[in-house]
């Protein structure tokens, strides 16, 4: 009789354990997140508040109750012999191996559609370089605040951040914009991992909609090479973020007044006119050619 009672109690206890996990029996080698919590409670608690906790609680991804081991691998050996050597740490793997773990779930999201064009992926920047996988809140898994985003990008792209200290710059240091307003860190079809507007138009148009057109009379470089043909978008000592100190220099480097159309195989080499550049009147081309981004009504971009 006592043995029957004992068997019943054991079965009841087993049932309660199963109920708590709401998951099927663990595969061989796995111990479940609750076991991880015993030693790593702080991480477990933080993780519980992050959006990654959906892996722990949802059945969709097949890791219910085993979120820790979805990235760190089976942890049974680690529980038997706790040391860094007995558990996989994605942050310490080669970037491709780390990314492979993340992409196991995240490849099925639009975020990564430009991954092959991404210089981050090509340069072996692992997902964990930017994303704190266990963290939560606006500065956690995915940075949300512009200042935090900029700080993170600047920690590697020091050169670029230095350009924002120039007097004319987009307002990133002021916290009004962030790097991801213009760049997609996961990759994009556009050069420099730039964001796009309305499917495939330049991301600059997200804010500079008045430059969008289409214009009846386009200025070729705007369409062929984009805004960076004339502007330094991060920052410049020159007005209007221009790549040269004065407007006429910007213009003359392409409109070089060569006598023959297409002598160099490039566009725009012929003189638009024979202006006397010694006169101040002709030293600022945009005084007259004011619709330099394209004109709706005038072939010479005068109005």
């Amino acid at each position: 009789m006592r043995s029957i009672k004992l068997a019943v109690l054991l079965l009841f206890a087993a049932g309660l354990t199963t109920r708590g996990q709401t998951a099927p029996a663990l595969p061989a080698g796995y111990v479940g997140s609750e076991t991880c919590k015993i030693c790593h409670e702080d991480i477990y608690t933080a993780f519980g508040k992050s959006s990654h906790n959906a892996v722990e609680t949802g059945a969709k991804r097949g890791w219910e109750g085993r979120a820790c081991e979805s990235c760190h691998g089976p942890a049974q050996m680690h529980t038997e012999s706790p040391s860094a050597a007995t558990i996989r740490n994605p942050a310490k793997l080669a970037a491709a191996a780390t990314d492979k773990i993340c992409l196991t779930c995240h490849l099925n999201q639009p975020t990564h559609v430009g991954r092959l064009e991404s210089s981050h992926a090509k340069d072996q920047i692992a997902c964990t370089s930017c994303h704190k996988v266990h963290a939560n809140g606006p500065n956690g898994l995915v940075l949300r605040k512009p200042a935090a985003i900029n700080e993170q990008c600047a920690s590697c792209h020091t050169n670029v951040w230095a350009q924002f200290q120039r007097p004319n710059h987009h307002k990133l240091p002021e916290g009004a914009m962030s790097c991801v307003d213009c760049h997609n860190p996961h990759g994009s079809i556009r050069p420099a991992m730039a964001q796009s507007f309305a499917a495939n138009e330049p991301g600059c148009l997200n804010c500079h909609g008045d430059k969008r057109g289409p214009f009846t009379f386009e200025h070729g470089p705007v369409r062929f090479e984009g805004c960076v043909a004339c502007h330094e978008p991060h920052g410049s000592a020159n007005p209007r973020l221009l790549a040269r100190q004065e407007v006429r220099i910007v213009c003359l480097e392409c409109h070089a007044s060569l006598p023959t159309v297409n002598a160099t195989g490039t566009i725009g080499v012929v003189p638009p006119s024979f202006h006397d550049l010694r006169s101040p009147r002709f030293q600022n081309c945009t005084v007259c050619h004011q619709k330099i981004h394209g004109s709706y009504v005038d072939r010479n971009l005068l109005r």
């Binding site: 340069d123 072996q124 386009e218 062929f224």
Partner: protein, 666 residues
């Protein structure tokens, strides 16, 4: 009896997990187990957390050019809501799980922002973003043909604000089928100065600017375990109502002071207005897939077709000259109807193949093709001392570009600490720009793009404390669109990060671009180079504070030949920029006095350059934080802006800003 009890005890616990795995049909909302839904914040925590910073800013008088100060900094005096950051959490998960709100710079500030995230697990994810940006630009060195006469004016200046609003809602997040909808709005309005251009003179006149773009889009994302697809359809509406005017009763003599054929030209009345209306539709299809354990696929197809219709009306009076006919006239009416359409197709396909454990092969193909077609019909009616004259014209325009690139990259993990990367990219395209009928030298232009690029890179991580990355491109071109385009170039980028001590980390960044176009008539020689070093030091576990600093040295050297327009003699355009940029910030925890532990931050940035536009720009700052209690802090902030130019002395400025305020924390 005992057997019965044992059976019940056996069956009940076994049933519980089965029940737990079965969806609970018609379960009342209040009985939905909270444990099933991840709670961002435990219910024991406050439903509202966050802080708000309010204060008052004083700006001293701006020494030097106020216009330049407004063009570059533009911060003013007055009461400000400097920042707010709140999180609202509903422990009962009724309408939302969590709402996050942040706002910055409200109170007549140049950059006012507001952002809201609201989400409810498995139901919706909503984001709203609003920005109000001031755009003031009045730099005479940009466009002042009258400077030699002592008139400081920028004839292309702006004083306007841009308003950007974005709203997006994703439904059923976390599901495999996620519909989403979004609305974006970008608008600008304000005033400025521009020129009214005639054949022989340009007249500075005021203008008003008003444009608005609205973007509507919606789509669905299919997120299955091994593939994803997104289908999106959107469209925009656009309007631009710019006008240029000069009231009657004033005479504008323009930029030309000299007489032409014994007469001076002038403008006595002007009204010119653009009525631009545009629409567009666009489509987007994206997919990613893990075809097998060794093969991933990526692809996207993007298509947009914006178009515009324009009605331009201009009436002006004065003493003006039609140069082509040497005809003086006293009034003009100029009407233009124009239209343009720009179909634009882009696409990419790519695969990542992992044939061996240590080898990855990435191949991608990308194309981008646009074709703009425009037409303009104009009627110009001139009236003078004689009979009136009407000139009609019809112009068509075309702009085409077809760009493609193909790239293959091979990555080899030589060891777990060393990855080698090699690749090859071929870029090709053509561009055509034409306006018909031709006029003067302007008719059509075309160019071809052909570029071969070799790619290499190394990633080396010998220890967890040190990472070194380098990548390089070497390119050779057989054609380029513009004289300043990339042609034969070498590009190098290297980064290193080193955790020297637990409290000290160092980072270095190096970039080099060397671009040459040796084609006769171009002779372009361009080299830019930047080197940076940054450090972060937090001694004693940041017990007393921390320090971060960076220094960047950059040089840019550009030579390109051109012919001086009036003499057609060869000239070289030289551009030089040698710059030093430094940033630093100390955060110091000051001694505690009567339980109050103040903190001081000090630092700032400096930029000094020599060369074609020698400039200095200093922004030192200091901030003192005094926490009064857990919910209230006092702060005081000082910042100095000093700007100077070697060649345009009249554009320098300097000023101090002092802000004091309170931070309320909950």
């Amino acid at each position: 009896m005992n057997r019965l009890i044992a059976l019940i005890l056996l069956v009940v616990p076994l049933m519980v997990p089965i029940h737990a795995q079965t969806p609970a049909p018609q379960a009342p909302a209040e009985t939905t187990p909270a444990a099933e839904t991840p709670s961002p914040v435990p219910s024991a925590e406050s439903w509202l957390t966050g802080s708000v910073d309010v204060g008052y800013r004083w700006r001293t008088d701006v020494g030097g050019s106020l216009d330049t100060y407004r063009s570059i900094v533009n911060l003013g005096s007055g009461p400000k809501m400097l920042g707010a950051d709140f999180t609202l959490t509903d422990p009962k998960h009724r309408a939302f799980d969590q709402i996050r709100v942040r706002a910055n710079g409200w109170g007549d500030e140049p950059y006012q922002t507001f952002h809201l995230d609201a989400k409810k697990s498995k139901l919706y994810d909503f984001r709203a973003d609003y920005r109000d940006m001031a755009y003031f630009n009045f730099l005479p060195s940009y466009a002042d043909p009258l400077l030699s006469r002592g008139i400081v004016l920028n004839e292309q200046s702006f004083d306007m604000r841009r308003h950007l609003a974005n709203f997006q809602i994703d439904l059923l997040p976390g599901n495999w089928f996620i519909p989403y909808f979004a609305y974006d709005r970008d608008s600008g309005s304000g005033t400025g100065a521009t020129t009214f251009v005639t054949d022989t003179n340009e007249f500075p006149v005021p203008n008003t600017l008003r444009d608005q773009t609205s973007l509507y889009r919606g789509g669905v994302r299919f997120e299955r375990s091994r593939f994803h697809a997104t289908l999106e359809q959107g469209g925009t509406t656009f309007k631009d109502d710019q006008s240029v005017f000069q009231g009657s009763g004033t005479t504008n003599f323009g930029n030309v002071a000299t007489s032409i054929f014994g007469q001076k030209t002038d403008l006595t009345n002007l009204l010119a207005a653009y009525g631009v209306r545009g629409t567009s539709i666009y489509s987007k299809a994206l997919f990613t897939a893990e075809a097998t354990s060794w093969l991933d696929l990526y692809g996207q197809f993007l298509y947009s077709q914006p178009d515009t219709n324009v009605h331009y009306q201009q009436t002006d009076t004065g003493n003006l000259l039609l140069q082509s006919q040497l005809l003086f006239y006293s009034s003009q009416q100029y009407l233009v109807s124009a239209a343009a359409k720009l179909p634009h197709t882009s696409g990419s396909l790519g695969v990542e193949i992992r044939p061996l454990r240590r080898v990855r092969i990435v191949q991608s193909w990308l194309t981008d093709r646009l074709h703009n077609a425009g037409s303009a019909s104009s009627t110009q009616t001139l009236a003078g001392t004689g009979a009136s004259q009407q000139i009609a014209a019809l112009l068509t325009s075309s702009l085409v570009t077809n760009y493609s690139q193909e790239e293959i990259d091979v990555f080899y993990d030589a060891t777990s600490k060393l990855t080698l990367h090699g690749g090859y990219r071929y870029v090709w395209g053509d561009a055509n720009d034409a306006v018909l009928p031709p006029a003067g030298l302007m008719s059509s232009d075309q160019a071809k793009l052909r570029r071969n690029v070799g790619i290499g890179g190394v990633t080396f991580r010998p220890t967890q404390k040190l990472t070194v990355r380098t990548d390089a491109e070497v390119a050779s071109s057989g054609g380029a669109y513009f004289r300043t385009s990339l042609y034969d170039y070498q590009k190098v980028h290297a980064q290193a990060r080193y955790q020297a001590l637990t409290s000290l980390s160092l980072a270095a960044d190096f970039t080099l671009l060397d671009n040459n176009n040796p084609v006769p008539g171009v002779n372009y020689d361009y080299r830019s180079r930047q080197e940076s070093l940054s450090l972060f030091w937090s001694p004693l576990g940041a017990k007393f504070g921390d320090f971060q600093a960076s220094y960047t040295r950059s040089t840019l050297h550009s030579n390109i030949g051109y012919l001086i327009p009036q003499t057609l003699t060869p000239q070289t355009s030289l551009y030089r920029d040698n710059a030093h940029t430094a940033t630093a910030l100390f955060n110091v925890k000051l001694p505690t006095v009567q339980g109050i532990a103040p903190k001081l931050s000090a630092g700032g940035s400096l930029f000094i350059s020599s060369g074609s536009r020698a400039t200095s720009y200093y922004q030192p700052l200091a901030t003192l934080w005094v926490p009064i209690n857990k919910k209230l802090s006092l702060f005081a902030d000082w910042k100095y802006y000093g700007y100077g130019e070697a060649f345009y002395l009249y554009e320098g400025f300097r000023t101090n800003l002092v802000t004091t305020g309170l931070r309320f924390t909950r």
